[in-house]
């Protein structure tokens, strides 16, 4: 007989509660919408950062497949494709490798067109199409630029390539039918030809192919790759696994996304406080409600269900609204957080349902926890106690007992007593306000202290760095024959009113020789130890090309020298403002053309060039080394050949360089402008370089990067700080509201004893002003001090101190304080107006 429970009643009861307390319900739904919005936003950003990083690892790997098997025969490939753990496979039939020196560090395979493989490696033509005729070929833009082939359908493509079956290097002619923009990080790509062309080019090609495998569960890729092979009896087949699924990489992805997930803890805690504070306004009614329904036989299980239903009703409108607003916020923010998605909006590129699910879960948890708290207040009480719940402690503060006799009952004293009675609430409100205001002021100070001018000075040597099409990417080897930057273009740029300085850089790799005396200082430097006791050449052990180049130099004296012709702004940045390791730069003697300035390592603590005063032969002409300057790598874009990984650069005037290497194009152009004309100049420049393949790093790019870094570092924290501050304000307002509302009866008693409405107002405004005054007296010194200490430390010791000019500001606090002062007066008066709607008699009958 004691087991029957009807849970459906909870829905009706809740629906009525929801409808009856519309104002409170709307407030609660709004608060939960805020929670849902922030959770959706931070989870979506976190997931996007994680997915973006995964994508970049996939780019490094060169494919979205989980495993790549190399050299399987067609029977083995078919068998792997049928394996139970394999979701799908893509195939690649490689004919050979492009062997043109100009491709530098990139590995381009001549292969039979395959749509699946092309999709997995982002090698699908975006302009034009895949090859259909036997003499057609589709290639990526970087390869086209490196080989100086125009991006035009039908353009003649003469390829040097080496067959994989070990045949001789050969040259074949194709016609371009399609091209695509490879992701910048891809070191490997394909040049597609038709199967018929493959049969014609390699009639006796062995039956080998590469197989990209996508698994159902991409975990322990190595183990799975080996097991699949073992089952085929092909243990020896080489394979690689996708870096994006490597444990360390996964950990890195999680670490990157973690700060965004972490934000959710603050959001949930603040959300619970916010919702709880709204619920708390009617704590007494809620507690009594539970007491009442308990007395009528509502069981703990039914009460539990009631709370679950209450949370669900609140979440029902709040979650979709939060999803929508959170998504909008995410969409606006995403492009600033994740860069390099090739023009696609990152918000859509990495859209995932998981953030929405997580957000819904946390919002529900917030609602449930906040709804549970009033029930928990009376959970330990018997129904008889719950029905009499007043929310007030019976204890009288010790001071009151002693002080009560001494003073008469004056309105200010009564106001003071009102505040002291709610000490806990006041302390809580002050602490949360102090924390949120410090966060706001701190991040605001950091925001305004980050100095764009300092940033630009440190990051960029010039306002615009223009690069030849063959060096648009750091992996591309510079092709001196490219000539995409023409003298006419430079003339036109120089003719712009806005331009204040311009300079060019031309480079040419040349085989050089150093005798014993010439190599001695370099060898001594690299074989010697640095301040930390490490042999310097050990730092380069990760670069086998450098090591072999250095060893060749050390043993034979042969090395690659890079002759650089510089003028104008380039000369002034590299030489006039350069850091000299040895010797002195004399502009006049340098301009005469008999001297060169040598540059080795970028370190200034050791010599890595032949001795000053010694002679070097460049292009058949003898030069004397005037001085050794530290190498500024940032100015020269793209890559040199692998043989030049170990090199010595020699700077000479442009006129001399042109005499020696008249066929060499312009590698880089440096431009400074009058910043007032930036917009017009950039419009001009963009128009000029459109569809030429020329790359430009613009001043606005640096500014955008600066703005983005600023946004990423400060705007999101300021936004979170503002939300926390809003919650702080809500707590504060709530403390004021509850401070009046729970004293309905007390007010009625005062009125019954003859207190006028004016006196009541004075009492409440007095209370409010004292409350606000005390809050201000605490907040101003506390927030000022904490912000000062925090931002002062940050301006000197943080990682971004190099671009900071400390501007201590408490602006958010100065804006917030008047708001608080208005609230402390308006809210109590509003509440008084509300409670006076009930008559004195009605209020006196309230049971406490």
């Amino acid at each position: 007989m004691l087991a029957n429970n009807n849970l459906k009643i909870c829905h009706r009861l809740m629906w009525r509660e929801f409808r009856f307390h519309k104002g409170c319900s709307i407030l609660l739904v709004t608060a939960l919408t805020l929670v849902s919005m922030l959770c959706t936003f931070s989870f979506a950003i976190g997931f996007m950062v994680r997915s973006g990083l995964k994508y970049s690892y996939q780019i490094q790997y060169g494919s979205t497949s989980h495993i790549l098997y190399y050299g399987l025969n067609s029977v083995q490939a078919a068998s792997v494709a049928r394996h139970a753990d394999v979701k799908e496979t893509v195939r690649l039939k490689v004919l050979g490798l492009l062997s043109d020196d100009m491709l530098g560090y990139r590995n381009v395979k001549l292969a039979v067109a395959d749509d699946g493989w092309a999709a997995a490696t982002e090698a699908v033509p975006v302009s034009g199409r895949m090859p259909e005729a036997d003499d057609e070929i589709a290639m990526d833009e970087l390869t086209l630029q490196s080989l100086a082939i125009p991006r035009k359908e039908g353009a003649k493509v003469q390829l040097r390539w080496t067959p994989v079956d070990g045949g001789e290097e050969r040259v074949d002619t194709f016609y371009l039918c399609g091209w695509w923009k490879s992701p910048m990080g891809y070191t490997e790509t394909c040049a597609w030809v038709t199967p018929n062309a493959a049969g014609r080019l390699c009639p006796d090609a062995p039956d080998y192919l590469d197989l990209g495998v996508t698994l159902y569960r991409p975990r322990n890729l190595d183990r799975q790759a080996q097991e699949i092979l073992r089952e085929q009896g092909a243990d020896k087949v080489p394979y690689t696994t996708n870096l994006a699924y490597n444990r360390a990489r996964r950990q890195r992805m999680n670490e990157k996304a973690f700060p965004f997930y972490l934000m959710n803890i603050a959001v949930v805690v603040c959300g619970i406080l916010m919702v709880y504070n709204i619920v708390r306004i009617s704590t007494v009614q809620n507690a009594r409600f539970y007491g009442r329904v308990k007395s009528l036989g509502m069981s703990p299980r039914q009460i539990g269900r009631f709370i679950v239903v209450q949370a669900a009703y609140l979440c029902l409108p709040a979650i979709p609204a939060g999803w929508l607003s959170g998504f909008v916020l995410y969409m606006v923010t995403a492009p600033y957080v994740l860069l390099g998605t090739g023009g696609e909006h990152p918000a859509f590129l990495f859209l995932n349902p998981a953030p929405f699910a997580c957000s819904a879960l946390l919002t529900w948890f917030t609602a449930f926890t906040a709804c549970l708290l009033p029930a928990r207040l009376v959970s330990g009480s018997r129904p008889a106690e719950a029905m009499k719940y007043t929310g007030l402690s019976a204890a009288i503060p010790a001071e009151d007992r002693s002080g009560a006799k001494k003073r008469r009952c004056r309105v200010p004293f009564m106001a003071l007593y009102g505040i002291r009675r709610d000490k806990k609430k006041a302390v809580f409100a002050a602490a949360s306000m102090c924390l949120s205001m410090t966060l706001l002021c701190g991040f605001w100070t950091q925001y305004i202290s980050t100095d764009e001018e300092k940033y630009m000075r440190e990051i960029a040597y010039c306002d615009y760095l223009i690069a030849d099409a063959s060096t648009a990417n750091s992996l591309q080897r510079y092709n001196p024959a490219s000539h995409s930057v023409t003298p006419e273009l430079i003339e036109e740029i120089a003719g712009q009113k806005a331009v204040t300085a311009i300079g060019t850089v031309r480079t040419m790799e040349i085989p050089m020789y150093a005798d014993e005396a010439g190599r001695a200082p370099i060898v001594e430097s690299f074989e010697g130890e640095n301040e930390e006791g490490v042999v310097r050449k050990a730092y380069m052990s990760g670069s086998p090309d450098w090591v072999s180049g250095y060893e060749k130099f050390r043993t034979t004296g042969e090395y690659i020298g890079i002759a650089s012709g510089i003028d104008g702004l380039a000369e002034s940045v590299i030489l006039s403002e350069g850091e000299y390791v040895e010797g002195v730069y004399d502009a006049e003697r340098f301009a005469a053309g008999n001297y060169v300035i040598a540059a080795g390592a970028s370190e200034t603590s050791f010599v890595s060039t032949p001795p000053i005063g010694s002679s070097v032969e460049i292009g058949g002409r003898q030069f004397k080394i005037m001085a050794a300057v530290s190498y500024k790598g940032h100015i020269i874009t793209g890559a040199d050949s692998r043989e030049a990984a170990f090199n010595v650069s020699y700077y000479m005037p442009v006129q001399v360089f042109e005499e020696l290497f008249p066929e060499c194009g312009i590698r880089n152009v440096l431009v400074n402008i009058d910043h007032n004309s930036q917009k017009e100049f950039e419009e001009f420049l963009s128009k000029k370089i459109r569809d030429t393949g020329i790359a430009v790093k613009m001043r606005s790019d640096y500014q955008w990067e600066f703005g983005n870094a600023l946004f990423h570092n400060y705007v999101i924290p300021i936004f979170v700080g503002a939300v926390l501050f809003l919650i702080g304000i809500l707590n504060f307002a709530n403390a004021l509201v509850t401070g009046v509302l729970i004293r309905k009866k007390e007010m009625a008693v005062y009125e019954s004893l003859g207190m006028t409405q004016l006196q009541l107002r004075r009492l409440l405004v007095g209370e409010g002003l004292m409350y606000g005054g005390m809050m201000t007296a605490f907040l101003v010194p506390a927030v000022s001090l904490m912000t000062w200490l925090w931002t002062g430390w940050w301006a000197v010791y943080s990682a971004s101190a190099w671009c900071v000019t400390w501007k201590y500001s408490l602006l958010p606090m100065w804006i917030a304080l008047p708001v608080l002062l208005v609230l402390v007066m308006v809210i109590p008066l509003g509440c008084l107006h509300m409670i006076r709607k009930e008559s004195v008699t009605q209020r006196l009958q309230i049971v406490e």
Partner: protein, 220 residues
């Protein structure tokens, strides 16, 4: 029907200990109407709360309609209140968000029991609430609210009706009416009724009047 043996309820400890009930023994027979009178703080409400399962005693035994309350867990106690006891409070304790009809049927809804429509109509008719079924408690007078509370207490046909100052918030005319209705409905449906009141005149309507003082029943 109700058996109470050596019932004690103490609050606090040491010097500040308050003995709300200090060894109460009582038996109320089935269908009997007992009134408990006494000064404020004499322990009347505590006594009623304990026999209704709203509070737990420090010591002693309470058996209501064969159910020993000492052995009940919280969940069982809730169902006990729902099925065995009908409460009438001084401040009515109607759920403000439910209509009068829903308030009356609330104990049945909690239980998931079917409504006996004829019994409902009969009780509503008896208490004169036919016209007020669709309105919310806030739109009723005190007397009407208390009549709705009486109907609610009766609807689940509990064995015992416990009324704590049911006329305390009403004027004397309304008080008399409500007390009369309460007695009548208890008699009509053969319910045991225990009523707490300050009003000796109302108490005289009971079959038996019990006087409480300092947590004890001093005379019957």
């Amino acid at each position: 029907m109700i058996t109470v043996q050596n019932l004690k309820k103490y609050y606090g400890s040491g010097n500040s200990q308050v003995k709300a009930l200090d060894g109460v023994d009582l038996t109320v027979a089935k269908g009997e109407f007992a009134a408990i009178v006494g000064a404020s703080g004499s322990g009347k409400t505590t006594f009623l709360n304990i026999i209704g399962g709203l509070d737990i005693p420090t010591e002693g035994k309470v058996v209501v309609d064969g159910v020993n309350l000492a052995g009940l867990r919280e969940e069982q106690m809730a169902v006990f209140r729902r099925k065995k006891v009908g409460f009438i409070f001084q401040n009515y304790n109607l759920v403000p968000t439910l209509t009068v009809k829903e308030n009356i049927l609330f104990p049945l809804d909690l239980d998931g029991s079917k409504v006996n429509e004829s019994f409902f109509a009969e009780i509503v008719g008896l208490l004169g609430l036919e016209e007020k079924l669709k309105v919310y408690p806030a739109m009723l007078s005190g007397g009407q609210q208390q009549r709705a509370a009486i109907a609610r207490a009766m609807i689940a046909k509990p064995s015992v009706i416990l009324a704590d100052e049911p006329t305390g918030n009403l004027d004397s005319r309304n008080g008399q009416n409500v007390a009369g209705l309460l007695k009548m409905t208890a008699q009509v449906y053969h319910r045991t009724l225990v009523m707490i009141t300050h009003n000796l005149e109302l108490a005289q309507m009971a079959d038996r009047v019990l006087y409480m003082e300092d947590g004890r029943i001093v005379s019957k």
